[in-house]
């Protein structure tokens, strides 16, 4: 971040350190790769004056597994289980992102039932992802053995119901490998819709219990109001999307603005807040949780009949070939806009992509860390990082 461009925004991420005696006054603390509250392997080097953070330098790359290089070696059909592991809190949306990009590149049609099922899976994985965020946000707030564990235990108990529903359809808790080019592989078993309604009613009835534990809890509000305020202009420039952008007042949601799957047939009420601080992000996510519950019930009832896979059944991995052409497809995940930019005509005689770039919403959110941390204390740093909800598997790829 050049100081010039940051100063233009009125936010100075690296406060000028000339008036500090480098040796004596600043304590340098590593909130390092292995830390209970860094949501994975993320490291921030904090320059502290007493308890106040004067400067924060984030380091990423501790989970860089070279996924883009690996996807250039594998064929289109083999890519789904690889990409599952990127955003391991809502793997459904990973699979959908990459298969939508391949369908755009290879011009394969997706039948209506498959598009409906994809929308339903995306909304249900948004519920499980926001539940996990609320759980870890509680632990960030109150500590593992302190008050935070109540929220952690509650939300994980509800998340297990969603994982059970996915296990009924695909056989796995997460890393499903259920999407392919042209639709889905596993159809919905009989009686599944009834169990979805039971689970969603149970979660809906407990959501106001979470409100008492979080946004109505005075300590929670005291620690999050006015902490880590992200101005909308800076959020847009950083490329931040998703709940963080909506909490800063920008009314942008790909589900409504650029509908994909079957979102054009249902109306999504986009939740926004104006304040842009940690509390606003908490409000947006919890209201999105209730909204996703409503949408999931709508989708489960309105599931049309028909085939679930448009493309020819997959016989051999090099079945789909693309000589050239490029495609960029983006969809709204619980963390923001997950885009996939693919160039066709790669190895295996055109059966694998020439280049595949994944746009990670978490990396854009992490880029805001130096701006948000400066001026706060160490306990604020933990809260701010929790409110950004980064997933390092997706940020580092």
């Amino acid at each position: 971040m050049t100081l010039a461009s940051a100063a233009r925004l009125g936010v100075d991420p690296h406060r000028d350190l000339t008036d500090y005696d480098p040796e004596a006054d600043l304590m340098v603390l590593n909130m390092g790769p292995q830390h209970p509250s860094t949501h994975g392997v993320f490291r921030v080097k904090l320059y502290l004056d007493g308890e106040t953070i004067v400067r924060a330098v984030p380091y990423v790359g501790y989970l860089h597994r070279g996924v883009e290089k690996l996807l250039e070696e594998l064929t289109f059909v083999q890519a789904t289980p690889i990409v599952d592991k990127n955003d391991y809190v809502s793997p459904m949306t990973n699979e959908q992102a990459i298969n939508m990009a391949f369908e755009a590149l290879l011009e394969v049609e997706v039948p209506r039932r498959a598009r409906y099922m994809r929308t339903l899976f995306a909304e249900m994985s948004r519920i499980s992802s926001h539940l996990l965020w609320l759980a870890t946000f509680g632990v960030d707030m109150g500590g593992a053995l302190g008050g935070g564990t109540t929220l952690f235990l509650h939300c994980f108990r509800e998340r297990e119901y969603i994982l059970d529903l996915f296990e009924l359809v695909t056989g796995a808790r997460f890393h499903y490998n259920t999407h392919t080019i042209g639709g889905n592989r596993h159809d919905i078993p009989a009686g599944w819709a009834k169990r979805v309604h039971q689970a969603l009613d149970l979660i809906a009835s407990r959501v106001d219990e979470y409100l008492d534990l979080s946004t109505k809890n005075a300590i929670f509000v005291a620690r999050t109001r006015g902490v880590g305020t992200l101005p909308a202009k800076l959020a847009l420039e950083l490329g931040i999307t998703g709940p963080i952008l909506r909490a800063s007042g920008v009314d942008h949601d790909l589900r409504r603005d650029a509908p994909f799957h079957a979102y054009d047939e249902i109306d999504v009420k986009v939740q926004t807040e104006q304040a842009g601080d940690c509390l606003a992000r908490a409000h947006v996510r919890i209201r999105e949780l209730s909204e996703s519950i409503r949408l999931s019930k709508l989708l489960v009832d309105g599931l049309p009949e028909g085939p679930i896979c448009g493309g020819r059944p997959i016989k051999n991995p090099t079945q789909f070939k693309a000589k050239d052409g490029q495609a960029y497809v983006a969809l709204e995940t619980p963390r923001g806009e997950l885009g996939t930019y693919v160039i066709g005509g790669g190895g295996n005689k055109g059966a694998s992509p020439y280049r595949l770039k994944i746009r990670p919403p978490s990396l854009h959110a992490l880029a805001a860390m130096p701006y948000l941390l400066v001026g706060g204390t160490i306990s604020d740093a933990v809260v701010i990082l929790g409110s950004l909800d980064p997933i390092m598997g997706e940020a580092d790829r």
Binding site: D25, L26, V28, N30, M31, G32, P33, Q34, R43, G50
Partner: protein, 120 residues
């Protein structure tokens, strides 16, 4: 008369035994590694190398806050035994403790007005 002293004697004995044995037992059953590298003693900082000195000059406000805390902590030490025996001590003790607390409240008001408790 003697059984009062025996109970206090037992009390002192038991507390001594418990505290000493806590230390001694953990010392006795300690475990020593046969081979350990020098990293065992390195400071733990989330897996990273610590950077820069830890002996840094802190802002004086921490000292003032600690001072005010100690002041009211000691006041609490006087309050506890007083609260236990308030029925036996009668009205005189209540007035006495009220006076004591009032003086300390005056000190607290002074600290508040001088802004010692402000954090930034």
């Amino acid at each position: 008369m003697s059984e009062i002293w025996t109970s206090t004697l037992v009390y002192v004995l038991v507390s001594a035994v418990v505290s000493v044995s806590l230390l001694w037992v953990s010392r006795a059953v300690r475990v020593r590694a046969k081979r350990s590298s020098e990293l065992k003693g390195a400071t733990y900082e989330c897996g990273e190398e610590p950077d820069g000195p830890a002996w840094v000059r802190f802002h004086p406000r921490y000292y003032v806050v600690a001072l005010v805390f100690v002041l009211f902590d000691v006041e609490a030490v006087f309050l506890f035994p007083w609260a236990l025996n308030i029925r036996r001590l009668g009205l005189f003790a209540i007035v006495e403790m009220a006076l004591f607390v009032a003086i300390l409240l005056f000190g607290w008001a002074y600290a508040l007005r001088k802004g010692a408790l402000e954090w930034q």
